[in-house]
Symmetry: C2
Subunit: 159 residues, 2 copies
């Protein structure tokens, strides 16, 4: 299944369109070594993220991307393909974020999103919460990261 | 309490130094508007992160930082002050990540880290897991984000 199977295009997607059981696959995005190092020098300057030589001798046997870099790359695919462009009110949070395998320079990532739950707000009935499982895969179809994300979306007007 | 109260400096800090009940406060880091927009254009191009004019008319009444940007800024403080420079083996994951208040351009963030649990690995006794609560504050001492992070650290040799 892919983005074309979603009930509505991303520019006209509301809470009602996010239906439990939906599965979408989106991608891909390639992880460049210079981007891994640049991101980590700014935000996560541990040697296995920024120093190829020391990283090669270390625990991971080479450079790996910061977990927050992987989150950010996941978000780009999620924002480009899944999150409504007209009804997104952001996210209250994320649960069970797991970095299950190293992401290395040259890897190509894609995501699979499964809608777990959609619940209209009782206090503010013009909006609803959608809980989604997100899995991030590398080019070998191995899961490198997973998480459960909550998103808040407006309902269609008058619904 | 601050970094000087930690049992060991960050360049000589091992699993044994991470003791449950420790509380450390670290920071600060200021969030620039151009950095908010630059990060979001790359990773999270929703209009309330990238377009000041549309953001001003929208749900948040102005630009806010991507939640992943806030995570990344948190990580910089966490890596600079808390995570061992000699014994870090990375992180298996994070739980209960919550974005509790918007982070806006001009905000100054700091973090408070509380060690919740430290558990030596039974299968690999040269290392151990440390679980920490991380709270991110703005300049008004409001919590803007919180999470529980797991880190894996080597033990001191021969311990």
């Amino acid at each position: 299944m892919n983005t074309s199977d979603f009930p509505a295009p991303i520019t006209d997607r509301y809470f009602e369109d996010y239906r439990p059981g939906f599965v979408g696959e989106y991608g891909s995005i390639t992880v460049a070594e210079d981007a891994v190092i640049e991101f980590a020098k700014r935000f996560d300057p541990q040697e296995f993220h920024i120093d190829p030589i020391r990283a090669a001798r270390g625990f991971y046997g080479g450079l790996i991307a910061s977990g927050w870099h992987t989150c950010s790359l996941m978000m780009r695919l999620y924002a480009d393909h899944y999150v409504s462009k007209v009804a997104s009110l952001g996210s209250p949070g994320v649960d069970e974020l797991r970095w299950t395998r190293p992401v290395r320079p040259g890897d190509t990532l894609s995501i699979r999103v499964t809608i777990l739950e959609a619940r209209r707000s009782t206090s503010k009935p013009d909006r609803g919460f959608v809980r989604s499982q997100i899995e991030v895969f590398n080019q070998d179809k191995e899961i490198v990261m997973s998480l459960k994300a909550m998103n808040l979306f407006l309902c269609r007007k008058g619904s």
